[in-house]
């Protein structure tokens, strides 16, 4: 027999946000003109940009664009390793 639905079991997070991040809580990060256009490039860019106080690696976006995906993934793994970020144990939330 199918269990009757009760309101209490619905999703608790229907809507959040829609209010801008207050300027005082926005980090002032130097904006680059030459932004990555793919996910792997974005991931590497963010890791380096957001952790500039912990790790420094200079490269041009054109250098990154020339890499194949396997090389990009290895670079990201190396950056994460340097930052002490451990891999997730599973892919399902």
């Amino acid at each position: 027999m199918v269990k009757k639905y009760k309101h209490a079991v619905g999703d608790d997070t229907p809507v959040t946000g829609g209010i801008d991040l207050p300027p005082g809580l926005t980090r002032q990060l130097p904006a680059d003109v030459d932004l990555p256009t793919d996910d792997l490039g974005q991931q590497a860019y963010w890791l380096l940009k957001l952790n500039a106080d912990k790790i420094a690696l200079k490269f041009r976006q054109s250098d990154f664009s020339a890499m194949d995906d396997e090389t990009k993934q290895q670079l990201i793994a190396d950056i994460r390793d340097s930052l002490g970020v451990k891999p997730f144990a599973k892919a399902v939330i």
Binding site: V2, K3, Y5, H7, A8, V9, G10, D11, D12, T13, P14, V15, T16, G17, G18, I19, D20, L21, P22, G24, L25, T26, R27, L29, A31, D32, L35, D39, L40, Q42, Q43, Y45, W46, L47, K49, L50, N51, K54, Q73, I76, A77, R80, L83, G84, V85, K86, P87, F88, A89, K90, A91, V92, I93
Partner: protein, 200 residues
Amino acid sequence: MFIDLPKLIELTHCSSGATEQATIESLDREMAKVKIDGNWWRPLTDATSKLMDEPDSEWRWRDLISRAQNKPFFLARCAKSSNGEIQAAVLLRVDAKSALMEGEGAVFIDRLATAPWNRPNLTKNPVFRGAGTGLITYAIALSYSLRLDGRVNLTAVANQSFYLRLGFQSIRYDQYGDAILEISAEQANAHLVERGLIDG
């Protein structure tokens, strides 16, 4: 997609308790236009209140994505079920400051919404639960993976008590009047351990 971030969210069918996995996907303008703006707000057969009273009924995800896509620190993701429907969507930015820990960064949930047919305040028979919460966990995982230590902040428009139960703290941000909710690095770590995403 980013490497080594969760790719699936386990959804629960509210009617049967059965589970299925939704994929976490990039949300682009076309998908937002067709699958959210053009699909979410169709009348529900068993609606218990007005769709147009929902705080996000006037959000136009296509426009939001258009504005965000050329900014360097925004990310749009959605949870898509096996029938191709978007069950929840989120717009994140990774250039936030922590409101709890001075000098540290955080991921900010600019906005998040679950599909109307999953909302218990709108329908007597919601379809899925877990999509919105799954995307919050995704935001925490993203923060963790970017070495922001899992810190995530947001402004809740409703159901603040849910976030407090999840481990978020309410911080009065007096200059602007809105309360910011933030999950600390310690609570974020506990959240990820509890869900088996990282070791304790």
